[in-house]
Symmetry: C2
Subunit: 460 residues, 2 copies
Amino acid sequence: MTDPDDALARVFAHLAAGEERALARLIEYLRHPSISAQNVGIAEVAALLVRLLRDIGLQAETVPTANHPMVLARWDGAPGAPTVLLYGHYDVQPPDPLDAWISPPFTPTIRDGRLYARGAGDNKGQHFAQILAIEAHLAVHGRLPCNVVLLLEGEEEIGSPHIAEFVGTHRDRLRADLAITADGPLHPSGRPTVIFGVRGVASFELRARGAARDLHSGNFGGVAPNPLWRLVHLLATMKAPDGTITIDGLHDAVIPPTNAERAAAAELPLDLDALRRELGLSELDAPAGRPFYERLMFHPTLTINGMHGGYAGPGSKTVLPHEAFVKCDIRLVRAQTPADVLAKVAAHVARHAPDVEFVPMHGMEPSRTPMDSPFAAPIRTAIIAAHATAPLLFPSLGGSLPDYVFTRILGIPAFVVPYANADEANHAPNENIRLDCFFAGIRTGAALLSHLGRAAPASG
Amino acid sequence: MTDPDDALARVFAHLAAGEERALARLIEYLRHPSISAQNVGIAEVAALLVRLLRDIGLQAETVPTANHPMVLARWDGAPGAPTVLLYGHYDVQPPDPLDAWISPPFTPTIRDGRLYARGAGDNKGQHFAQILAIEAHLAVHGRLPCNVVLLLEGEEEIGSPHIAEFVGTHRDRLRADLAITADGPLHPSGRPTVIFGVRGVASFELRARGAARDLHSGNFGGVAPNPLWRLVHLLATMKAPDGTITIDGLHDAVIPPTNAERAAAAELPLDLDALRRELGLSELDAPAGRPFYERLMFHPTLTINGMHGGYAGPGSKTVLPHEAFVKCDIRLVRAQTPADVLAKVAAHVARHAPDVEFVPMHGMEPSRTPMDSPFAAPIRTAIIAAHATAPLLFPSLGGSLPDYVFTRILGIPAFVVPYANADEANHAPNENIRLDCFFAGIRTGAALLSHLGRAAPASG
């Protein structure tokens, strides 16, 4: 058997010789709109992907959901080696506002070492790099170093409404030892990253009502209850000025970070002064003294997204408003769940302000993969092989992605390994991917297959 | 000298014979718009009033202010008798929305025993009744029972911006023993009222800022301070859930009600069940157990008029807003002042949330005339003479009127004796005055002059 480092070096050489062709093929792929929110081009791009994946030697098909189909492909020719589930999404954000684009969103254009197009970074450029990495291994060696399941979603940009159901239903077809998502950006310094987790989220609204109509504050002040005061006093029972969330039982399920996670967070680069300047902040949010990354990774937050009631115009108006609402989200950490957290908020509201209406909204579970997962080391080694620099290890993102479908539904470790530049302008006009990031992404994909192929499967 | 009851009876007889003519003259007066907010007809109506008042035998003139002029008239022919300052306002609210009027606002029209026109109740119909009462005494007896200063303002509907300065400057020309305002409505039962005081008001805005722009709650939740939480926690230091206002020092100046005031409030009619049904309330505002009228008369209130920040659309949006504001008013009771109260709010905000901007706004002092004022008895007697029923005695209104210019600047007792029906629809389309209320108002004005003429002047 060939030495695996030699085998990867041959793939890298093949890739280096084919960069121009790879770029041309990405440009062709990006010409096809696939806007999930507007159902534009979805079926066409799903079919195009299936043809492409079959052409390079994978079993591939579209699998229907209640809305846009999944593209599912696999390669099973490495018995005894691990199976990696590569996740991405082929749908893109709507390109509006069109007149803010320097070149049209579906006319991919190279300027200053970047390729500009909707989907260049989020996510077509990234999963296309994964596909080209698979293709290169197959072209050079006729086989892959490990088994692959490729899952490309068509609804990520509309909130992945069917992925949990899909993954639960197709558990057997998705059997794998780990999941890797190539999405999001590299660190602003350009360093690659490995992300082991995400915070979850649970959103809700509270609605308070007073009298049947707005009243005069002089004629009814002190007589009719004020729904804004009702919400203020209720909210004040939910979070203390020192930053402690005081919703009864909210922290019950929280598992504190491991020493390894805390140490990894402490090692991440941080220019707090620059951040303060950029955000115009003199101080961070309460509680004081909490390390920066621990705020984003290891603690739930209760954010008021919006609060509205009564007069909003200029000057003063002596009105006593009759209704008001507040919208909040709670970012969840391991092992909180939206269902449990929303039930605790509901119970808290019922106890402290039974006349206030609680409306549960969007929820997504958190996810956390242990930093000592046996796949962490080969992923790190692969990234070093592709980038010639070690990745930053993020125990968690502050935001939310549906990684829980891998960790909680499939029960496998999940990693996010972004390929795009930090200024990819995803969801915005002039979305782009740096050409060097795209090529490094293909190399990273190839190296991941190589180094995962040398690891033992989790079930082995 | 004639028996004063006989003299009043002759005036009443004169009035009873002249009702048709009185109504025709009110209709003519109401044909002239005098909209202060739009500067429509103000000078014309002021001049019209001066001619009218001179014609009936008063010294009358317009006195300029920085904006619309005052109409000032006097009759000094009763040396040794008290001098009453009769206050009213000749400006009216804009009539919009015009298409909601059944008959045009400046085409006075009689329907079902009411005269419909802008200003019919607020305030032309009421001070015109006072003028006709003066005229009747002069027509029947050639003199008035007491001295009269008549002050008609042209800016009441735009907040009386110059009345305090005017009264302070023209203190000598306004010298009087008491002030009476005929404005506002009778009790809904139709019973006449005497109002001894008003609450003051102090409005302010609080503005909180977080980061320089809206942020993603996942990427910055727990990092960037949230201006809505800042306001929630600040507001929670200003009023407790039990209804207690907890602004440091806010109650320092409050003078509790006298036994007479508390007893008068307790005697006022109240159908709390009907009010609850009308307002759709299951319970009154905190604190529980406080008598209804005491809420409106004897306690300051802190009302949130409006609070706004962040997302207001449908569903959820995981945004961390960068700014928010809240507008509040405090209703003031004796002897709080807007200047002192706003200074205390400013100090409280500076102590509890120094990063929150405090913006003082509109203020008006409270006013309270003692219920045992020597003029309370003749006013009550006069109302009984005109209405054949005793008035309800209100120690205070919940709302605010600039009565402090009489009680605090001139240092004289001030009373409000309304003439209009409770459903006068002031400030609204189809404003009206019931014809019987208008005629009773003229009789009340005549009786007030008669009974005040029998009292000793305050300075005597």
